[in-house]
Symmetry: C2
Subunit: 89 residues, 2 copies
């Protein structure tokens, strides 16, 4: 399996990836959520769950069809990391 991107932890059964993102202001949270929605439209990949408040977003990614985490999920996680950095800028 490819390396798990920075800040993400592999969890449980079925295999999932979870990460919490924190932001200074709602505007950043909103920019991140908008970017996440656009990324989902582009890739056809959707987080299994997204849990957010004003200044945080918790994301859980699940392996497709009960399989193992693969390049698709790990690449998706890495791109979400990039979105979070962009949202903070």
């Amino acid at each position: 399996m490819a390396e798990v991107p920075e800040g993400w932890e592999a969890r449980g059964k079925p295999p999932t990836l979870f990460r919490r993102f924190g932001f200074e202001r709602y505007g950043e949270t909103r920019a991140f959520l908008d970017g996440l929605a656009a990324l989902s439209e582009e890739t056809g990949l959707h987080p299994q769950n997204v849990n957010f408040g004003t200044t945080y977003v918790n994301i859980t990614l699940e392996a497709a069809e009960g399989g193992q985490l693969g390049e698709a999920e790990l690449g998706f996680a890495a791109r979400i990391n990039a979105l979070s950095k962009a949202a903070e800028a």
Copy 2:
């Protein structure tokens, strides 16, 4: 206190309002989330927590500053109900 809008239940301490919205497709979920973000920008009110997956959105509203639920929160909940109906259309 004004009447709790259809489908919402008052919960706990601090007082909160919770409702789960279910959708047929991600497109509806997305339309609902976009509408919710626009409504937050318009009103300056933000859910205490939003938890969503592809076809559901769970929303928790909390009373401002630890007070009681008032017209602001109940009105916000009623407008979120309207958004969910619009998203399904």
